[in-house]
């Protein structure tokens, strides 16, 4: 039977309270800074996206009323270059390949990690976790 923990003195309790308050303050500061940094980051990212979509709109507006989709289609087909088609196919299939590899990696993580956790818990029943999802993604409540 384990011995009961020694009761802490008033001074020790005060110190522990001060430390916990400081730790909570740190967590709050971190959260606030994260909010500011991600606001700035998202502003930059989505501004870039909006700018690109705006220029796409300008391109379409430049053609509006002056030409038809059929004309554009004929123009594209008439000026098609093999090298450009191959480049587009290469880029596009590269992205699809990457997305599928990521999907496969997450499936593998789910399979391997489930087993890993079970085996580790046999040795350490109080095993702590990083709280990620079974597929290794950020926990939605931590976003």
């Amino acid at each position: 039977m384990s011995k009961p923990a020694k009761p802490l003195s008033k001074e020790q309790l005060r110190q522990e309270l001060a430390e916990n308050k400081a730790e909570l303050k740190f967590i709050r500061q971190s959260r606030n800074i994260h909010a500011i940094v991600s606001l700035g980051g998202n502003l930059f990212r989505y501004t870039a996206l909006v700018a690109v979509f705006y220029y796409i709109y300008l391109c379409v507006a430049a053609l509006a009323g002056k030409t038809t989709l059929a004309n554009i289609g004929i123009n594209v087909l008439a000026n098609v270059k093999i090298s450009e088609v191959v480049a587009w196919l290469f880029g596009g299939s590269g992205v699809i390949f990457g997305l599928n590899q990521r999907r496969l990696r997450r499936k593998t993580i789910e399979h391997v990690q489930t087993r890993n956790i079970m085996l580790e818990q046999r040795l350490d029943p109080n095993r702590t976790s990083s709280q990620l999802t079974p597929r290794g993604e950020t926990n939605p409540r931590d976003n």
């Binding site: 123009n75 702590t128 990620l132």
Partner: protein, 215 residues
């Protein structure tokens, strides 16, 4: 017709730009984060194996502290960025210094490892250093933009030093190349050695990760 052709080419360029924006701001960022998580997972598994081999108990405070720190890094790596690192360092330095002065993570870990033998202490310190190195790499060296900037700064400094102390620099470079040193590890050790601010900042992040990992 020429006008249509020009606009179609421009549309093609813009669609490609959309793809590049996705890759630069979402795709590669997620990949770097996953890589950081995977590296810290690997270290956490090594720590677990170290304990499973009987070198330290699973309920030893030092083991629990290191594991919580690693869990914190894994869990909240999506919030980690260079700006966040700088912002948190400054904010803690000016508004929350008392915590780190009175009871830093470093002090707590030293207290926890006091009862262990030197070999185990050294091994746990190695795990902590390796985790800090991963953090350093993730924050300072992982993005291509930062790597390019870092490389330009290094080349600039190298040119200046070469002009001032040519022969000594060439000998040092030859030695560096010969020993096949890991650039990231060398950069981390060199920066830590020469910057007390960086040491304190990494200490702050370690303490933060430990606080998050306990939650």
């Amino acid at each position: 017709m020429e006008n249509v052709s020009g606009v179609v080419q421009l549309l093609s360029l813009l669609l490609s730009s959309l793809g590049l924006i996705y890759l630069a701001f979402w795709g590669f960022r997620e990949l770097r984060m996953d890589e950081f998580r995977q590296n810290v997972f690997r270290l956490r598994d090594e720590l677990f194996d170290f304990a499973a081999d009987g070198n330290i108990a699973f309920d030893h405070p030092a083991y629990k502290m290191l594991r919580s720190m690693m869990n914190g890094y894994i869990r909240f790596s999506h919030r980690g960025s260079l700006l966040h690192f700088v912002g948190l360092t400054l904010s803690t330095y000016f508004t929350n210094r008392s915590y780190f002065v009175s009871r830093s993570f470093d002090m707590e870990l030293k207290e926890a490892t006091a009862s262990l033998d030197d070999e185990t202490k050294a091994k746990l310190e190695e795990f902590r250093e390796k985790t800090s190195l991963q953090l350093f790499q993730y924050l300072f060296l992982s993005s291509y933009t930062k790597m390019t900037i870092a490389l330009l700064i290094v080349i600039g400094l190298l040119i200046v030093t070469l002009l001032l102390r040519g022969k000594a620099v060439i000998i040092a470079l030859k030695k560096l190349i010969k020993t096949h040193v890991d650039f990231d590890a060398w950069a981390y050790r060199y920066s830590k050695q020469h910057s007390a601010k960086l040491r304190e900042s990494i200490e702050t992040f370690n303490a933060g990760a430990y606080a998050y990992g306990k939650v």
